[in-house]
Symmetry: C2
């Protein structure tokens, strides 16, 4: 469903948020360890998230990544997916037709579209804060 890039991106963001909630900045190395992802690849993904300002970075000794508390609250899973995989997911036809529309629907459009919307709505209202708290309270795991 999601690309690996997205999966790593979301997990990394959750961990950065978790650390930020505890007032800490986190290094790439530590992140990659904790979410069990390839370090150099994760770096690329984080760069992207920094560019769209979902997370912040600082270089040098004691540098690393962190997330502003308003961002933790306001950023949704969908925001991360958009930043990494782009906006297409929402408008792609399930059967791969060049365009998805109710005027010229494919054979499954009417049945599948609603579930799709549900999924997107869910991603849209699931915040990083919520996910990070799940980890903090040990209700969920990251690796």
């Amino acid at each position: 469903m999601l690309s690996k890039t997205c999966e790593y991106g979301i997990r990394a963001t959750i961990f950065i948020a978790l650390q930020s909630l505890m007032g800490m900045r986190t290094s790439l190395k530590y992140i990659a360890e904790e979410i069990d992802s390839p370090e150099a690849f994760t770096a690329k993904i984080l760069q992207k998230l920094v560019r769209v300002k979902i997370i912040e970075s600082s270089k040098g000794v004691n540098g690393g990544f962190n997330m502003a508390s308003d961002r933790i609250k306001s950023t949704s899973v969908l925001d991360i997916v958009y930043a990494i995989d782009g906006y297409d997911i929402c408008n792609r036809c399930v059967l791969g037709l060049s365009q998805c529309s109710s005027n010229n629907p494919c054979s499954v459009h009417h049945k599948f579209r609603p579930v799709r919307e549900d999924l997107i709505a869910l991603m849209n209202k699931t915040t990083v804060e919520e996910m990070a708290l799940g980890i903090k309270d040990k209700l969920a795991i990251l690796r």
Copy 2:
């Protein structure tokens, strides 16, 4: 969501079913034209579907692909997806954890799992017949 291979596979199957409902066998060339897919690549996909007996093929002059009427009724989208992409989709964690379980859930497991199940249930109960009839009645398109 689905691989291109699956998308082509489903569209091709719908078209073969449609033709079979009208008592006709269909050649690869015609299928590829009608569903707007790369011919040689589509051939590979159809081979797979023949092997699992979702469709039937016959070689030689006037050969081609067809689908038995009981298959048209009994085959679901999920059957095709299973045949092509395998069984994994159902048990993969949304965030890419090595295993998805309620005991050790990721941060979105509890919220996303139900929607996922909905999607799978929908694929499971959407039959080839239903989709083919949509095309026949011009309520849907294939390309």
